[in-house]
């Protein structure tokens, strides 16, 4: 048998039908659903009299629209947001899928709830009507975002019409320096490849620096595979993965766990398997990074300066000029001189317990800068509870942060947490597009530790100066 990549193995194990032209029906093991991209899909089922084929493999949770303020039990003010969440309540009940409503302590961002509850397991196919489904690749699961028509297709048939992508390997060798995190790895990779560099590929992240990451860190890396254009990101499961999965509510138990474990241990890229593209970065070379523009590829080490549009080529010259104007920056300006007024820590990229521990380490016993608006939004109700229990929440409150309830929050301006025109935010989320965090809002993507540092100093700050 010819050697296979991890992606080849998972793909081959899920082809339910293959047409002559190579178009496949890929069987889907887990379908995650949220309120924004599903109402039209459920409506489609209703109109055609179709059912959800596998409600036991379908998990729904509202996250994009939900307010994260402590008084949210009073309901959602915005009528359209409320209607979307109510539509999910109704659809989940009517079609009999697993559901975590806003009032459930387990509610949170769909990509944090899935792994936390043990729905996401190695070797699975996982889809969701959300591009950051790539997150689940951290478990060695083939996970990617789909559109609403595809959501309806998966609901009705538990399959997806797919053609196989190409294989790409991103290897991060060696060790990371102090102050450098999973977020810096994933941003540095996008800085290297560009936002279209992964188009047509499934990326497998390998190398010592990846192996040394926790599951939380691995989820951060895979989460942003989509910002690099890839269909999915993958990390082969290992002891770190198995340890994380064991004992989760929906993970296999007892003898079945042992049986699963035996299978999971076969999920790695065989010696000699071929990749269509390989990128290698040295862990030692990666620095704490920040984005300066309005594309996630606009990445520079925090020690850098705002670039000059003329330094780029082709269409990127105009894009960089537009970005710099939108961001209100000047070419040559030191990144550490950029003053910020808002800090957002959370999202499916960096809303897990380890992220909050990193923040607490930086801000413990200190105060955020006067006038700074700084919020920390846990990725799930259970992350919030754990942070309370570990004493992190007290550290945040004492430092002057708002400590919120779980949701997507300011990662995208679909709920009350938004930037106002001209406001400048250091954010741990995943997209710095124009208007992403609010109309004319300005976003600099950073790691949780760097966001914490910026909250203290009021400027983009090299975390290494505070270590």
């Amino acid at each position: 048998m010819s050697p296979k990549t991890l992606y080849d193995k998972i793909w081959d194990a899920h082809v339910a039908h293959e047409a002559e032209d190579g178009t496949c029906l890929l069987y889907i093991d887990r379908h995650l659903v949220h309120e924004v991209t599903s109402p039209q899909a459920f409506e489609g089922l209703r109109m055609t009299g179709r059912k959800v084929r596998a409600p036991e493999k379908t998990i729904a949770v509202p996250d994009h629209n939900v307010p994260t303020t402590l008084d949210r039990a009073k309901g959602i003010d915005n009528e359209e947001s409320r209607i979307q969440v109510e539509a999910l309540d109704k659809n989940a009940k009517e079609f009999g899928v697993h559901y975590y409503p806003v009032s459930d302590v387990r509610q949170g961002i769909v990509h944090i709830v899935g792994p936390e509850q043990g729905w996401t397991l190695p070797g699975m196919t996982v889809v969701c009507g959300d591009s950051h489904t790539a997150t689940h690749g951290a478990f060695g699961a083939l996970a990617h975002g789909i559109g609403t028509s595809e959501v309806e297709h998966v609901l009705a048939t538990q399959t997806l019409i797919q053609k196989k992508s190409k294989n790409m390997k991103v290897e991060i060798t060696g060790k990371l320096n102090p102050g450098v995190t999973a977020k810096d790895i994933t941003l540095a990779v996008i800085g290297e490849t560009g936002t279209a560099g992964g188009t047509g590929y499934v990326i497998e992240y390998t190398g010592e620096a990846i192996r040394n990451l926790s599951m939380e860190g691995r989820m951060t890396v895979c989460n942003m595979a989509i910002e690099g254009g890839a269909r999915a990101g993958l990390i082969a499961p290992d002891e770190t993965t198995f340890e994380y999965v064991k004992g989760r509510p929906h993970a296999p138990k007892g003898g079945q766990f042992e049986q699963a474990l035996e299978y999971w241990k076969t999920l790695f890229t065989d010696e000699g398997a071929e990749f269509d593209k390989i990128i290698t970065l040295k862990g030692e070379d990666i620095q704490p990074v920040v984005t300066w523009g309005t594309s996630p590829e606009d990445v520079l080490p925090i020690t850098g300066v705002v670039p000059n549009p003329e330094d780029f080529e082709g269409g990127k010259v105009e894009a960089a000029r537009r970005s710099i104007e939108y961001m209100g920056l000047t070419p040559g300006q030191k990144l550490t001189d950029i003053e910020i007024d808002t800090v957002f820590i959370g999202s499916c990229t960096n809303g897990r317990i380890e992220d909050f521990r990193a923040v607490a380490e930086v801000v413990k016993g200190k105060k955020i800068k006067d006038g700074m608006r700084a919020m920390i939004v846990p990725g799930s109700g259970l992350v919030r509870a754990q942070a309370e229990e570990e004493g992190l929440a007290d550290i945040f409150r004492d430092a002057g942060f708002e400590w919120r309830l779980a949701g997507c929050s300011m990662c995208l301006a679909m709920n009350p947490d938004q930037l106002s025109e001209g406001e400048r935010c250091a954010a741990t989320s995943n997209r710095n597009f124009e208007g992403r965090q609010g109309y004319k809002g300005r976003t600099h993507l950073v790691s949780p530790a760097m966001a914490a540092a910026a909250a203290l100093t009021g400027k983009l700050t090299d975390i290494r100066d505070l270590l």
């Binding site: 069987y27 991209t37 591009s131 975002g145 789909i146 297709h153 269909r231 594309s295 894009a319 208007g435």
Partner: protein, 201 residues
């Protein structure tokens, strides 16, 4: 789904690279639970001032491009989120074909589900079509899916590639779900086999 066979129409030039889904349809407009009505908010923040008035120099606000049915765009069009509201907005506006050097994966897939033909061409050919589109409403292009040809206003013919299955579905206006349901037996068989091999799933 509406069929796509042959289209002759005005092409609007948008040479900016990395046009993302937040530009195509900002998330504040994703709150509808319907599939229609997004066209008026297509490219909302580039197209309108905060007070709702039009930004005159945005391409689709110019008189000669208001009825565009084709978009010629910069590299990596549609990057960002999985929102199908992006192709819904494009289709609702009346655009049925987008041409670029590359598209983001999910957006590309979503187009085919909504009767929109995304065409990938090399840079020099996109440059040529961009220049043709710059000519305005007198420069009508023809996109013939059956023949896989674009004809510029000057009569120049450019061939393009398209996946045969997707081409068939667009030309016939076929619904994916109905087709897949005809393969229910394969899915049943797979489910039974996989269930035996991996009972924990």
């Amino acid at each position: 789904m509406e069929k796509f066979q042959k289209l002759t129409g005005i092409a609007a030039p948008m040479p900016l690279v990395n046009i993302d889904t937040d530009m195509i349809i900002p998330k504040v407009f994703l709150k509808s639970i319907a599939r229609t009505g997004f066209g008026k908010n297509l490219f909302d923040e580039m197209r309108y001032n905060r007070d709702g008035t039009e930004i005159a120099d945005f391409v689709l606000n110019k008189p000669q491009y208001r009825n565009s049915e084709i978009l010629v765009a910069g590299d990596n069009f549609g990057c960002g989120s999985s929102r199908e509201h992006a192709p819904w907005a494009i289709a609702d506006f009346g655009i049925k074909c987008v041409i670029s050097t590359s598209f983001a994966d999910i957006f590309f897939n979503n187009c085919f589900k909504n009767g929109i033909l995304p065409i990938v061409l090399p840079q020099e050919q996109v440059d040529l079509l961009m220049a043709d589109a710059e000519k305005g409403e007198n420069a009508r292009m023809t996109v013939d899916l059956e023949a896989q040809e674009i004809t510029t206003s000057d009569g120049e013919v450019i061939k393009f590639d398209v996946d045969p299955h997707r081409k068939h579905c667009l030309i016939e206006g076929l619904d994916d779900i109905g087709q897949t349901m005809q393969k229910a037996e394969s899915i049943d068989t797979f489910e039974a086999q996989a269930g035996a091999l991996r009972p924990w799933v």
